[in-house]
Symmetry: D2
Subunit: 101 residues, 4 copies
Amino acid sequence: MDRTEEGGVHGYTPDKDDYLKRLRRIEGQVRGLQKMVEDDKYCIDILTQVSAVTRALQSVSLGLLEDHLGHCVAAAVAEGGEVAELKVREASDAIARLVRS
Amino acid sequence: MDRTEEGGVHGYTPDKDDYLKRLRRIEGQVRGLQKMVEDDKYCIDILTQVSAVTRALQSVSLGLLEDHLGHCVAAAVAEGGEVAELKVREASDAIARLVRS
Amino acid sequence: MDRTEEGGVHGYTPDKDDYLKRLRRIEGQVRGLQKMVEDDKYCIDILTQVSAVTRALQSVSLGLLEDHLGHCVAAAVAEGGEVAELKVREASDAIARLVRS
Amino acid sequence: MDRTEEGGVHGYTPDKDDYLKRLRRIEGQVRGLQKMVEDDKYCIDILTQVSAVTRALQSVSLGLLEDHLGHCVAAAVAEGGEVAELKVREASDAIARLVRS
């Protein structure tokens, strides 16, 4: 099975509803940020709120990554060979992007 | 004038429309993330997209911070005294939250 | 074999000399920072140099992590069971510390 | 007075000894990392230690930045004009490098 297949089963699939709930909350927080700017709120208060949204997104990333390591990467590693190497490299690149963003 | 006053003039006021536009785009990106999860997209592709949203938020923060330093903090420093110190400390705390988030 | 065993073979073992060389260069950079402070160099120039050291350390972390995923975690996953889960969790925690530091 | 002048008085000057002490401790931590690699310590333990060094460096940066805002930038802002704008821009660029590193 190709784990990268769109619409397939992924590491995060069992927690899909939880991720959707968190992303909807984040969407609400971003709308809240717009309202703060519209209402001319104090810059530092907006910054504090942006940091909260960033942390919430980071937490989603870390969750997805753990699910990914425990399922997609683990499955590829169990098969071994080039695919395993490719998956580890791909996950490492995603971690690097996460660390540097 | 109290620069922390809600509904007052802030460093970001002249660029308010630009910030609102960027925040609306970020809201759209977060909705895009929800769609990716709903459509069972590949974990790594979702992670890449989350990093893009995080960077967009960071860029909003850095812009707000620069506006804040150049206006609110500058004004407080020009007045001098305790208020100046307080504003520098407050900005430094916001920077620390940004760096650590 | 217990991969966590001290003095054992780890993912980074084949690249040990390279990691040592990079860490020695980082040590030199930190000494350079001390010299900058002693010589009363301009704050912004010191900050630029601190960012360079931080990025060099991050790059060491990302390398160690990739080696770890490709070896220790991969080996544990191949064995399966509780150890596999534990290793994935442990690696995810390390990634979270990295992202948040 | 040109605040960017080498060997001049900077925001961090009163705390110079404290910064030197912290940087020497960081140098010791980096040597400790080399020893961990030489002794084939477990990857995750090395990663934990790298995160500690990164946080210590970040804390030095945040301190230098606060001193810089409260002195060099404040002085430039008090003088006003182009120099003030330049200093705010320069500090903002340093903050951006810090946030993104």
